[in-house]
């Protein structure tokens, strides 16, 4: 029953650490919130954004302010219910920009018969990537009025479930972006031979998401699809390897076509 769901993207929080509104920070060339919009739209669900900043109107989806300002994510969930008509809402916080369609769909699929369904990955539960039924609204108002604002505490009394998706999805989908350095490594890419020819340049700079371990081949194949059809090797600071570690800041990453010496 997908028809009764609105996706509510929470972008209401202040972000002093980021220096600007969190959801508008660019990740891989587009604002975090836009990644999530794309995912929601690819599932075919209506989307609204809860934000207190009119800059979010640029994305051509309805933007609503928090009705309970500075009441944290619960305030945003409240606004989500208030400004949507559907029986349930799928809540996503704008600071988890790597959430994919499949994750959302599997949460929706598992949610029948529960008032709240949220995922758990390894030991961490993610209440801000979950589905909430309108039957929770009344008690949501009570929590907000009483200023009991912890989302996990709010969930407990309801007929809820926490589904373990550790084996289904990569941890990276749950990656939470809080500070600029969480976001990406700014890296110089050197290209050679036929690869430089295809890219039309021998040197370019890209931002690579800063994750626990980043598979560069996978990332490059998405960024430059022609690479997925050819054989090449990757050298991080002149060492042949393909995984970029978290917080690693290499001077260069070389993309090398097949060797042809001699």
């Amino acid at each position: 029953m997908k028809q009764d769901i609105t996706v509510v993207i929470l972008a209401g929080g202040q972000s002093s650490r980021m220096g600007k509104d969190k959801g508008l920070i660019s990740v891989n060339g587009k604002p975090m919130v836009q990644h999530l919009l794309g995912v929601a739209q690819s599932i075919g669900l209506p989307v609204i954004i809860i934000a207190n900043n009119s800059d979010y109107k640029q994305f051509n989806v309805p933007v609503y302010e928090d009705r309970y300002k500075e009441h944290g994510p619960l305030g945003g969930i409240h606004s989500g219910f208030y400004h949507s008509q559907t029986e349930r809402i799928f809540v996503i916080s704008c600071d988890t920009p790597f959430v994919q369609k499949e994750l959302i769909e599997s949460i929706i699929e598992a949610s029948e018969g529960f008032e709240i369904t949220v995922p758990r990955h390894e030991h961490k539960t993610h209440p801000l990537i979950g589905i909430y039924a309108r039957s929770t609204f009344e008690s949501l108002v009570k929590s907000l009025d009483a200023k009991t604002l912890k989302v996990m505490e709010f969930i407990k009394p309801f007929h809820h479930q926490v589904i373990d998706v550790s084996t289904l999805f990569d941890e990276e989908q749950f990656e939470n972006i809080n500070e600029p350095k969480d976001l990406y490594a700014q890296v110089k890419i050197k290209a050679f031979g036929m690869i430089a020819e295809r890219m039309d340049s021998t040197e370019t700079e890209i931002s690579i998401p800063n994750k626990k371990a980043m598979n560069l081949r996978k990332y490059f194949n998405e960024l430059w699809p022609f690479l997925s059809e050819m054989s090449y090797s990757i050298a991080i600071d002149q060492e042949l390897r393909e995984e970029l570690n978290k917080n690693e800041q290499p001077n260069e990453i070389a993309i090398l076509p097949p060797f042809a010496g001699g």
């Binding site: 050679f192 031979g193 036929m194 002149q238 097949p258 060797f259 010496g261 001699g262």
Partner: protein
Amino acid sequence: MKNCFKEGAITPDFIASSIAHHQVKTNIGAHQIFLGQVRSDIIEEKEVVAIDYSAHEEMANKAFHEIRENTFEKYDLTCMHIYHSKGIVKSGEICLFVFVSSAHRKMVQQAIEFVVEEIKAKVPVFGKELFEDDSHVWKVNK
């Protein structure tokens, strides 16, 4: 780090004088030389007239250095030289010159094979095979 690249073709004169330089090293009893020459392959009815070599030079020089170290460790050699072209080398000209020397022949015979195979597999050098009509394809080591 030694720079193993030479601009353009490696000339017979250069190779000859390299041999001459070893005449003072009288503990050497055997030299072995490998010369890579640009072949005029016919690719889709067009003839390769030259190869334009490029490389990740810094990384390539490191790779040459490592190959050198490994070779000295494996084989009892007196000396060893590697030169590779960069830029344009016409067909029929020399693009790779490997020169190993030892007291006895067995060592150099084994060493030369090892060095050449290592170079082909491990050094980031790229070759653009040029045709007469200014078109090109990219060479890949088999």
